[in-house]
């Protein structure tokens, strides 16, 4: 019937509302019946179903980003590894499973139970995996698979392992991996991480974690009552971590590592025009691969208890007296402050008397008449004692700081030390003592309070090489995502410009070249045909010696002097700067310079300025020089 009149008469729409409410009540009745049907009538059927064919969502870990060198040669990647995991819900007989596993892998049951307890304390859910063993080998995987019927709830799951292809090469810059700890889990930066995840603990692995990590994927799998996968249902692929292109050159790094041999110490190679780090070594080193699958306790103990601190990156956190290398700073300061003219002569008779004390030159017979050039070339202490007195410590410190000393270089690695250049104010503040004039003399030859890090030394010679610019040393050129798109590019960064006059630079560079090229120079062992190298040797006392005590080879090694050498080349258009410190190596010229020489040689062979080495046969100038020097060992320079 059609209504044409008052459609909204109360009676009619009340009736319609009643009809509506009957409809709605029916809806609710249907819902309750349906739920009753599912939960009560068929409840046991579905319960069984939910227990039998269980769907799990497993995480698919993203492969961590690679590290490649400046020529994009892979240095660090990932390789497949296997973990043994436990899912509590699948373990019908937990005691039996654990007992059997303990027998098979020969690990005490208490240790396994401890892992479960820790996981429980951290709120693990019954259907989540608990990692019992990390990085098990193939025979173990096979063994566990063979006994899987006795190992309900225990499964072997793949996990990408960090793979440092060249073991200890560049280890300190890379850092190492480790399991995330409770404190880290609490931090905002790790909100996406879970208990048991592996993260970068030190070095670049730590600093670049957010780029390296990628995004984990997930996979839905159906498992049977033992927790074994029956079928895969769906997968969200992980997003691989980003690739890090380093500034490092594998060839240079390799030659530096090789040249160091078993020695302890550190070395840094820079491009003086950009601050790019071409190589960086700290010795003794360690193999970061041992951390990748969880480091065994005894191995960790061994590394941390080692007196030579293999885990410390000495290139940035080792602080050493620079010894005579500091004379570079002294020469710059003297010329800039006009404390001495290049021509002025100072007579060296082997020592200087000051304040009733004798300050010796390393050459006991004395150097005779010395001007600035000769004093640098022959590393005459007496000459620089004089310069030190004239300048005073505060002026010395001012120029040292202009060249990047007494403060961190700003490299993107944790744990960099600032070194130390004393001043009057510093001594008053920290020791509450005045500065004694005699201490100017110690400072002048890079002893006393002065401390530098190897990377500061490299930066110092780089600044002399490039005309006074102190760059922030860089390890990373750019970050690329897995599709090869550049996410971040690191441009070279100038930290300070030391106001050096062209004349000063010219004089100092000329003298440093003399150190290498002249007959009496202390750095003759890096001499190379056709390439002009500038450098400075240094020998730093580890223990203060009595005035007339002669150091000899039978001094116990840990009291022997540190050997230093810093250099750049070619003089006319510098492209590489090196700093080497060999702990307890003895003399800079004989222990540190040859290492620098090998690195320079490798570099110039690579760039074609030196002929490529004929395997084994042709001796290079450096090697020939070494043979010669070996015969005439004995002369001591400072």
């Amino acid at each position: 019937m059609f209504y044409n009149g008052n459609v909204l008469e109360p009676v009619l729409h009340q009736r319609r509302l009643r009809i509506l409410s009957i409809f709605l009540a029916t809806f609710f009745f249907i819902l309750v019946s349906r739920v009753w049907y599912l939960q009560i009538l068929r409840g046991s059927f579905f319960k069984e179903k939910s227990e039998k064919q269980r769907i799990r969502v497993q995480r698919v870990l993203s492969p961590r980003g690679e590290f490649v060198d400046r020529q994009e040669r892979t240095l660090v990647d990932t390789k497949p590894g296997f973990n043994v995991t436990l899912t509590l819900e699948d373990a019908q007989d937990l005691d039996q499973s654990l007992e059997r596993l303990s027998q098979l892998v020969n690990i005490p049951e208490v240790e396994l139970r401890g892992k479960i307890e820790t996981a429980r304390a951290n709120g693990i859910r019954r259907f989540q995996m608990i990692r019992l063993l990390s990085n098990v080998d193939w025979p173990t995987v096979a063994l566990l698979e063979a006994h899987q019927m006795d190992l309900g709830g225990i499964s072997v799951s793949p996990e990408p392992l960090r793979n440092y292809r060249f073991d200890g090469l560049f280890a300190h810059a890379f850092g190492y991996m480790g399991e995330i700890n409770g404190a880290e889990l609490g931090r905002e930066a790790f909100s996406e991480y879970r208990m048991g995840d592996v993260i970068g603990k030190t070095g670049l692995e730590k600093g670049l974690e957010r780029y390296l990590k990628g995004v984990d994927g997930s996979r839905q799998v159906e498992v049977n009552s033992l927790g074994r996968i029956i079928q895969e249902m769906a997968e969200h692929s992980p997003v691989p971590g980003s690739r890090i292109v380093l500034t490092v050159d594998y060839d240079i790094q390799h030659s530096l590592e090789e040249a160091f041999g078993d020695g302890s110490g550190a070395g840094v190679v820079l491009n003086p025009n950009t601050g790019d780090i071409l190589a960086m070594v700290s010795r003794p080193s360690y193999d970061p691969n041992v951390f990748s699958g969880g480091i065994p306790a005894e191995k960790w103990k061994e590394l941390t208890a080692d007196e030579q601190h293999p885990l410390t990156n000495k290139a940035i956190s080792g602080q050493y007296a620079p010894g005579s290398v500091f004379k570079i700073v002294m020469a710059v300061a003297a010329l800039e402050e006009r404390a001495i003219t290049p021509q002025e002569l100072v007579y060296c008779r082997g020592y200087t008397k000051f304040g009733g004390r004798r300050f010796r030159c390393w050459k006991r017979r004395g150097h005779g008449k010395m001007d600035l050039h000769r004093a640098l070339v022959q590393s005459c202490d007496v000459y620089f004692y004089e310069v030190g007195q004239r300048l005073g410590i505060d002026k010395i410190a001012e120029h040292a700081e202009n060249l990047g000393l007494n403060r961190p270089t700003g490299i993107d690695l944790e744990g960099e030390k600032p070194g130390l250049i004393p001043t009057r104010a510093w001594k008053k503040k920290t020791r509450n003592e005045p500065w004694y004039p005699g201490e100017n003399l110690n400072a002048a030859i890079g002893q006393g309070f002065i401390l530098v890090t190897p990377i500061q030394l490299a930066n110092l010679v780089a600044a002399i090489a490039n005309g006074g610019t102190v760059y922030r040393p860089q390890l990373v050129k750019r970050v690329e995502n897995y599709r090869g798109e550049v996410l971040k590019e690191f441009a070279s960064e100038v930290r300070y410009d030391a106001p050096l006059s062209a004349k000063t630079l010219h004089l100092v560079t000329q003298a440093l070249e003399g150190v290498v090229s002249e007959k009496r120079g202390t750095g003759g062992r890096v001499r190379m045909k056709g390439i002009r190298v500038a450098g400075k040797t240094g020998t730093a006392q580890v223990v203060r010696m009595k005035q007339d005590e002669e150091e000899s080879e039978d001094v116990p090694e840990k009291f022997r002097d540190h050997a230093l050498f810093a250099a750049f080349a070619p003089v006319d258009d510098p492209e590489i700067a090196v700093a080497i410190i060999v702990e307890h190596g003895g003399h800079g010229g004989s222990a540190a310079a040859p290492i620098a020489g090998k690195v320079l040689e490798r570099h110039f062979r690579k760039t074609g300025r030196l002929p490529e080495l004929d395997q084994g046969k042709a001796k290079t100038p450096v090697e020939r020089a070494e043979g010669r020097r070996a015969v005439m060992a004995g002369g001591r320079e400072n």
Binding site: L20, V35, N122
Partner: protein, 366 residues
């Protein structure tokens, strides 16, 4: 000034009921998104924040006299249409559909606002018909235009769930207003007959959903998988459930939308038949209150608004629970007050605000 009588007639019980349901929702979201000690999702906190905004919306909806809303119904309707058009032109695309409008920090779903504005405008139009002398041939055209405009815009977003809801709400309002039933009955039969033709307008995923609903077993790893897993989750809950936060099906993240559209499966699995029925009864009481208000209201516009909102909530409950229990296809409709999500929560709170508004002013004349 707030009339003292308004406070006396204010239904605190209804307000409490809605807050209780929202609270259950927050708990269920917490349970559904909580995976192990170290990886707690913050979604439940966000839901609390949405509830806060929803309560504000509810208070706004109460404070304006519903007669004022009646006066401005066409304006509100026009504004919501403009928002829909803006979304159609430059909205944010999410999950293959253009539904969201970003205004500063807020992400709006205009389709939600349209539900309320359409109820207001239809109530206005239908109650006006009384004075103009009832249904004429032109009335059908006007109604078709009022409903058709937003419907077309929402269908092309495409949002199948909301489109169906809007159509159902409109038909309910027309029915309650006392319109003749037979023309609509014929139209319905006609539409059914045209279904094969309309089928061509559906997007591939919508066709897929309907097909899979009809025979879920044919595609256990795809869309049908949701329905199967949801049924297993509900069914395995049994009488008393597996315990809060102990559900094995729902805790395994077997559904991508377990804290939104499939929240009922989580509740049913963890609290069992007892919990599910308690929840359905709470909903039932809410609907009863709505119908009760509509029956007691003297004003035609007020009656229709309340009836519209009540049936909207009821349809949502029915379609959502029906979907999770395998009665309906998966159409992406939230469970009122329980599912995670800001837009629908705000709409619902405002809707309840309107019911409270009409309820406390039901004895006022004019």
């Amino acid at each position: 000034m707030l009339d003292r009588r308004l406070i006396i007639h204010f239904d605190f019980g209804l307000l409490f009921l809605v807050l209780l349901l929202s609270g259950i929702g927050v708990g269920a979201i917490y349970s559904a998104t909580h995976f192990g000690g170290s990886s707690t999702s913050m979604l439940y906190l966000k839901q609390l924040y949405w509830i806060g905004i929803g309560i504000t919306g509810l208070l706004v909806a109460i404070s304006v006299h519903y007669r004022t809303l009646q006066r401005y119904a066409y304006v509100i309707y026009a504004v919501s249409l403009v928002l829909l058009v803006i979304v159609a032109i430059g909205g944010k695309v999410g999950m293959g559909a253009k539904r969201w409008l970003v205004i500063g920090p807020l992400t709006l779903q205009p389709a939600e606002i349209v539900k309320i504005s359409l109820i207001l405008v239809l109530s206005r139009y239908l109650s006006d018909l009384q004075e103009r002398g009832g249904f004429t041939f032109r009335s059908y055209g006007s109604l078709g235009l009022l409903v058709g405009l937003p419907l077309t815009l929402i269908v092309q977003q495409p949002d199948l769930g909301t489109s169906v809801m809007i159509l159902l709400i409109a038909l309910t309002l027309i029915f309650v207003s006392g319109a003749p039933v037979r023309p609509f009955l014929y139209a319905g039969i006609g539409t059914l007959a045209a279904t094969p033709f309309l089928w061509r307008f559906l997007k591939a995923y919508q066709k897929q959903r309907i097909l899979v609903f009809l025979r879920p077993e044919t595609d256990p790893s795809g869309s049908g998988y949701h329905i199967i897993q949801s049924k297993i989750a509900i069914g395995s809950g049994g009488l008393f459930g597996k315990g809060i936060m102990q559900g094995t099906q729902s805790q395994l993240r077997f559904l991508p939308e377990q804290h939104t559209d499939f929240i009922f499966s989580v509740i049913a699995e963890e609290t069992g038949f007892v919990g599910a029925v308690v929840l359905i009864c709470l909903f039932g009481y809410l609907i009863f209150k709505g119908i009760d208000t509509a029956l007691k209201t003297q004003n035609g516009f007020g009656t229709l608004v309340v009836a519209g909102i009540t049936s909207m909530i009821a349809f949502y409950i029915f379609v959502n629970i029906g979907m999770t229990a395998g009665l309906f296809p998966v159409v992406g409709v939230p469970l009122p007050f329980i599912s995670y999500g800001g837009s629908s929560l705000i709409t619902l709170f405002m809707g309840v605000g309107l019911i409270l508004n009409v309820r406390m002013r039901r004895f006022q004349s004019g």
